[in-house]
Symmetry: C2
Subunit: 356 residues, 2 copies
């Protein structure tokens, strides 16, 4: 997911609003990983690099945002909203952030991405093999963090239930990623199939963050479901908003080469709408445009025209809105009123860049 | 690890001696994986293929040895030796087999191996990206199987302790694999470093199999340690025996091209002994021989000469024997006498191909 508006205001709002929890996440993540037995020095070098901890000044005043830490933040805010505290849930927050990062490391290998967070990716700097290993190791470390819930007073059976949720989310994320890759070879992916894919690839871990935060803080299934539903709908809204900006965002419309998902030939939700709903002749043109290795500027305009013909911009906005409203309704259904609950609402508004 | 003597006698002995448990492992592995929710059909196709379940007749009379299932067998035999039964430990046995297979799938990507168990490897048949995903998914499924120990009557805290052991073994396996890959670029790896590497890469999961089998069946730390030590020493003996056969085994000495680890330029234990202990001029020759992309037949003979000069064959045999005797001593220290305990001894003898 992109950090849409790179502006200082946005970053400042996020950092200042959530600084306490962001500091807590960062320092515990570092000390958890630092406290593990080391066998292969390279593994730890790669982990430090990936999290941005190798940089000078990274232990300075500001949290070092080598990643936004949205998932652990969400988990801890839900715990606070439900239980009034979050220390008991901290190991799960760290676990989810590590699992998320393992998927990023492997995704970069699969997508052959050369840059992440303005730095060379692990596979590019070391090798594909060692990046696969680094991801595998972080996977185990993430799961291992979950087991520490016991030391934070979480009962053993609840710890196991939380692990079960996290593992199911891992599987959904991996299978979503498989679908995403297999879609690249296909020209007949429907918008519905696409939504199934992102529910796994992008939604599952965000849903799990909120659901686990609630599970660790309440025994009421209705409360746990409310936050789980909130997380899933928010995750979907967030991802589709990402798709929206990739086509109609400021950077995409500025015409900067290769900044838009159209130039990048990404078959995201709006494009799939056109593939599905455009008149037959336009569909045929889309197929031949997307069969090319690169999309010429004139063709890019033709794709935008096709999107306009099927009203893709409004339909995409509507789908974001539906999911966003579902998220807020689920949040409200938890029937909680406190500072953390309001912070969750603010975080949701922030993630899809509504007024905040 | 190789299946050294491909002869029918060996396979028959293994299959007939352990048929009951091998059937149990295979059928439960299949039904566990088959009973999971499916998101990406490709994932399940790849899993079926990897385990050899896609082949006609695979549900026939003989267990379909798409893999030897040594680790789950070891785990269940230890459980039977200690507790007189093994059903309670079954989920852990399945978990370890899935984790082992996830490492194989990723190793094949890293090593660019095109064949496993006489079939095209996953990455070669589908793609690197999808093979990484398939491994990642199997990782989560393996961990998920561990959680099922609860349903088999294992207390929650013991389930968590078993997961902790398995996760530590995963990390050691991954870090061992990282060392192995980084060794390829180095010319100064010592035999001791090599042993650290195989203790992780090959030993950790075998140790975990035996240790978890005992942990799930006893509360006595001495018993758990005895079987854990047995597993680790056996794993080391097994791996060094593999190295031995790669250099002096029948296939290697038959002179078949590329069947020996010398022709394959593999810097296994015996070769590292020569790199360390040979006279300076011989070491220099070894360095220049191993710097070549391929090793010419005359050079192969020179490597064998260097091995003879440092008495590498006897030293390697000695190290196998030390570890093997350590394994048997650890097994005896558990002070158990029953059919399963004797089966464990037979399995150990079988794995390093001593008299059985």
């Amino acid at each position: 997911m992109r950090w849409k508006r790179e502006g200082q205001d946005v970053t400042n709002w996020y950092l200042s609003t959530f600084s306490e929890l962001l500091f807590e996440i960062e320092s515990h993540l570092k000390s958890y990983l630092g406290g593990q037995p080391h066998i292969a020095p390279l593994f730890w070098e790669m982990v430090d690099y990936h999290f941005g901890w190798d940089r000078a000044g990274s232990s300075g005043d500001a949290p070092n945002l080598g990643g936004k830490r949205i998932r652990p933040l969400l988990l801890l805010l839900v715990a606070r909203a439900v239980a009034g505290r979050s220390n008991h849930a901290l190991p799960a927050a760290l676990a989810i952030e590590m699992i998320h990062n393992f998927t990023l490391i492997h995704d970069d290998v699969m997508d052959e991405s050369t840059e992440r967070r303005h730095r060379t990716t692990l596979w590019k700097r070391w090798s594909t093999a060692q990046a696969i290993n680094a991801g595998d190791g972080l996977y185990a470390l993430g799961m291992g963090a979950m087991l520490r819930l016991r030391r934070h007073g979480v009962p053993a059976d609840k710890t196991i239930a939380a692990m079960d949720l996290l593992l199911a989310a891992c599987r959904a994320t991996v299978e979503g990623q498989m679908l995403d890759i297999s879609f690249e070879q296909r020209t007949d992916v429907t918008p519905d199939e696409y939504l199934t894919m992102i529910a796994g690839k992008s939604g599952a871990l965000i849903e799990a963050s909120a659901r686990i935060g609630a599970l660790l803080s309440s025994d009421d299934p209705a409360v746990i479901d409310a936050y789980g539903d909130f997380g899933l709908s928010l995750g979907l809204a967030f991802q589709i908003w990402d798709d929206y900006l990739g086509v109609w965002g400021e950077a995409a419309r500025m015409g900067k080469s290769a900044t838009s998902d159209i130039e990048g030939r990404k078959k995201s939700y709006p494009v799939l709408l056109a593939f599905q709903d455009a008149p037959a002749d336009v569909q045929a043109r889309l197929h031949s445009i997307y069969a090319q290795p690169e999309i010429a500027p004139a063709d890019v305009e033709e794709v935008y025209d096709a999107l306009e013909q099927v009203d893709a911009q409004q339909k995409t906005r509507d789908l974001i809105e539906v999911n966003f409203q579902r998220a807020l309704a689920a949040l409200d259904s938890a029937d909680t009123d406190n500072e953390s609950q309001r912070a969750l609402r603010d975080l949701a508004l922030f993630l899809v860049e509504r007024a905040y």
